[in-house]
Amino acid sequence: MQDENGAAERPLWEIDGLMMKAGEREILAPLSLSLARGKVHGLIGPNGSGKSTLLKVLARQLAPSAGSVRLEGRPLPEWRGRAFARKVAYMPQFTPAADGLSVRELVALGRYPWHGALGRFGDEDRAAVDGAIRRTGLSAFEHRQVDNLSGGERQRAWLAVMLAQDADCLLLDEPTSALDIAHQMEVLDIVRDLTLAGSGMAVIVVLHDINLAARTCDDLVALRGGRLVAQGACTDILTPETLHAIYGVPMGVMPHPVSGAPLGYVL
């Protein structure tokens, strides 16, 4: 909301009065917020807070019950499938089995939004695939079968698909849920670096762990029971009061012994 006043250009995402219902149950209460370019936004909140649902609505995997979502000022339903996929890449929480594909073949599928069903797989596509594999550190694995990779490598391969897609915005649904701490860092550091080069790319990532989120993201959006609890820079969110409001348990905050960044803990 500060963005709208501060930034000269329009925010990438504008969400207005978004509602989601499953039968009688309200998953997202009327929700309004906007998300800027060039930043990593973390979606946080307890289980069932609607953060995954919000991400799926943004990815057009779910149609909202009411309200509107605009990407670059254009309502989501007006985007055509491939044009939308050139702007927004989405990775589901559980990536499917890749059915015998090699890493390179899988990553090449990310070029579909650009060449379509019949278009030629040209030099530009090849360069994008090379770049995505390089940036995710998978060069040594590119001819291995995806299903034979370890969990962390597989997650990086799917991340490479999104990079090859060359989209302006990446949507990640708990990309680290099945990984150990080292592999979590590996994946999240790649995500972190994406926005650093001033590419204007935006990342929206659902994360369970508040400290991982604070370490990875520029801004946090906190949901609870489908409602927006807080939005702002990590340092603003990581206060005992706000964390209590988000998670419903008393929490404290202390500075990281090395970096000095705030760390949340349960009292």
């Binding site: 990815a59 996929a85 589901p92 499917p96 890749a98 579909y112 069903a117």
Partner: protein, 664 residues
């Protein structure tokens, strides 16, 4: 308070419904008893005859219907419980067809065994079938859809084998069909007594197993930690269910889908716990079969029943399955997806070319090598020229049909991510059969073109139906597969009713079911080949959809692939291929399942090369089957569809087992 009133109100309504159904069954039984034929002759003889008929035919029939229905209901309830699968029953698991095949084989090969124990033979067949089904779907963790698809495949194979026997032995075994379709005619109390004692024993055993059965509701790990001897209980319960079904089949033949319907209706009537379902399902089954049988008797003409009760009940099966579909959870464990069993080939197209060359070689052999009265004969020169008009069309037709089936199978397996999906189990082929049956019934001596038109119309009808069903779920592959299976069941029930009605021209239908290429003329073969090329040509254009769609809806949508349109296009293509091929080689050949599996075994991982390899392998297989079928039993010809199924079936099971061992 209000809830309690509502609950008792609901219970009262259920009680009234039950009472109403019982009354209906009773009334229908009375009506059937009253509507017995008038007999000519002097009053005294007629009175005594009527009395004898009442005591030794009519009443046993009523008792048999009630008891058989109850036994099937219990069998279905047990199977659904132990496999945690709401669409398991003796028909969908292949038990019925397996038992029937075993009985048919014995009737031909060892009639003495039948006299000794029909029930034992039926049990062996049913148990073998269910064992195969479980072995095939073990790798998919007995996931409901896969179990039923495997069951249908086994059913089809058993049906193929039975039909082969019937064709070979002519009218002698044709009576098996009438029996096989579940006629409840009785001449004595024997059948009722046998089924009754089995039912009583089965009910006792089920009661004894009630506790472990209740615990099976939780997942395996939890059940094991609660101290249930999982494997032992499973095997015991399945054996019990098969035994119940087999005893019914041995007495009265196949009565489809009572086992499916009874537990489902029991659940609707408010049964929640396993014990409630297990007690109510037999009651519902008894009522259901009794009502159906009485209706058949009431509507019967003077010459006997219009259709056997079993076939009539079978007609209920398809709609019932479709109705149950939305209730089936189709959770596919992500690890259980298809995997290449061999390392990927670096140059897949070279292998395709090699397979093509192999096909040409096989074609050459087929055209030249044959048998005559003296022995093997290599046709050359004039003889070759004389034989060519006979041999070339059928070879071409076999190759083209095989290519279509192989490609359709590859498409369907990619589309559904289910290694058991094949064009044979999709109802399209069976729909074509119903179209042919209609033509045969309406026209005295139909020509090939008319039959072809009937086949196309039937296939198209089936296709439209499946697509309509699929549209409700955004063409979700598993649902489409199940809708196809359900439709296949329905169509096969219709076919078996037509067979049971008899008449010489049902042999025409049998001929189609068997799939024979010997009636193919030159023009038809060329048409078929042209259609094949036309349908295979667009495959390279669809390669990217085929690569992305198997990754599931979320990923496909995220990449901007038109999910619904893509699936619709591919399904339509696969169904068209199946319909055309099935007209020539019948619905049973299994080539559509085999082709893609062999391609995987050869190291084709996916993509267009995989599709074409499957097509070429399919063509090679069917040409080979056609040649072998022509020569192996010379001077008799074994229809190509059967021959492929009889060889391919066991090999397919071997393939699936192999994958099982490797991936655990």
């Amino acid at each position: 308070m209000a809830e309690m009133v509502l609950a008792t109100g609901g219970r009262r309504r259920v009680a009234w419904t039950w009472l109403g159904l019982c009354a209906l069954a009773g009334l229908l039984i009375l009506a059937a008893l009253l509507r017995r034929p008038d007999l000519p002759g002097d009053p005294e003889t007629v009175r005594r005859l009527q009395e004898a008929l009442l005591w030794h035919s009519a009443l046993p029939r009523i008792a048999t219907a009630l008891l058989a229905g109850a036994a099937l209901g219990l069998s279905g309830a047990l199977l659904q419980r132990v496999l945690r699968n709401p669409i398991a029953d003796p028909s969908t698991l292949g038990i019925a067809s397996g038992a029937q095949l075993a009985l048919t084989v014995c009737l031909v090969a060892a009639p003495g065994l039948l006299a000794w124990s029909r029930e034992g033979v039926a049990f062996a067949g049913g148990a073998a079938a269910v064992g195969l089904v479980i072995a095939m779907s073990w790798r998919r963790k007995l996931e409901p859809v896969s179990v039923v698809v495997a069951g249908m495949t086994i059913s089809l194979m058993a049906a193929a084998a039975s039909t082969a026997l019937i064709l070979a032995r002519g009218e002698y075994v044709l009576s098996v069909f009438i029996w096989g379709a579940g006629s409840l005619h009785q001449q004595s109390w024997d059948g009722a007594i046998v089924i009754g004692t089995r039912l009583a024993l089965g009910a006792l055993a089920a009661a004894a197993l009630m506790r472990p059965l209740t615990l099976l509701a939780v997942d395996d790990a939890s059940a094991r930690s609660l101290g249930v001897a999982l494997v032992a209980v499973r095997v015991l319960v399945i054996a019990l269910a098969v035994w119940l079904a087999a005893s019914v089949i041995a007495q009265v033949g196949i009565i489809g889908f009572v086992g499916l319907a009874a537990p489902a209706l029991a659940r609707i009537s408010g049964a929640r716990t396993p014990s409630q379902i297990l007690w109510r399902a037999p009651l519902v089954g008894a009522l259901l079969l009794s009502i159906a049988d009485s209706l058949i008797q009431v509507s019967a003409g003077s010459s006997g029943d219009l259709i056997p009760t079993g076939a009539a009940v079978g007609l209920l099966g398809g709609p019932l399955l479709l109705w149950l579909l939305p209730r089936v959870k189709t959770t596919t464990p992500p690890q259980a997806m298809l995997r290449a069993t061999t390392p990927r080939r670096a140059h897949p197209w070279r292998m395709v070319v090699m397979l093509l060359a192999g096909g040409l070689l096989i074609g050459l052999v087929t055209l030249t090598l044959g048998r005559n009265g003296q022995g093997w004969l290599l046709a050359q020169g004039d003889l070759f020229a004389d034989l060519l008009p006979f041999r070339a069309p059928r070879t071409l037709a076999a190759a083209a049909a095989g290519a279509l089936l192989g490609a359709a199978g590859a498409l369907m397996q990619r589309l559904t991510g289910n290694p058991l999906a094949g064009p044979e189990v999709l109802g399209v082929a069976a729909g074509a059969g119903v179209g042919i049956a209609v033509v045969i019934l309406l026209v005295d001596t139909p020509g090939t073109l008319l039959l072809m038109a009937g086949s196309a119309a039937g296939a198209l009808g089936a296709l439209v139906f499946i697509l309509l069903m699929g549209a409700r779920t955004g063409f979700g592959p598993e649902r489409m597969l199940l809708a196809g299976v359900a439709l296949g069941c329905l169509c096969l029930a219709i076919l078996s009713a037509v067979f049971a009605a008899g008449g010489w021209n049902t042999f025409l239908l049998l001929g189609w079911l068997a799939g024979s290429t010997d009636r193919v003329g030159g023009l038809e073969a060329l048409l078929l080949a042209g259609a094949t090329l036309l349908l295979l040509a667009p495959l390279p254009l669809l390669a990217r959809w085929l690569a992305i769609l198997p990754l599931g809806t979320p990923v496909s949508r995220a990449l901007g692939v038109p999910v619904v349109g893509g699936r619709l296009t591919l399904s339509l293509l696969a169904a068209l291929m199946t319909a055309i091929a099935a007209f020539f080689v019948g619905p049973l050949s299994l080539v559509g399942l085999l082709g893609p599996h062999i391609a995987r075994l050869l190291g084709f991982g996916g993509g267009v090369a995989f599709l074409f390899a499957s097509a070429v392998i399919g063509a090679d297989l069917l040409m080979l089957a056609d040649w072998l079928g022509r020569t192996i039993a010379f001077p008799y010809q074994i229809p190509v569809g059967f021959f492929a199924a009889l060889i391919g079936g066991p090999y397919l099971i071997f393939l699936l087992q192999r994958g099982d061992a490797r991936h655990g």
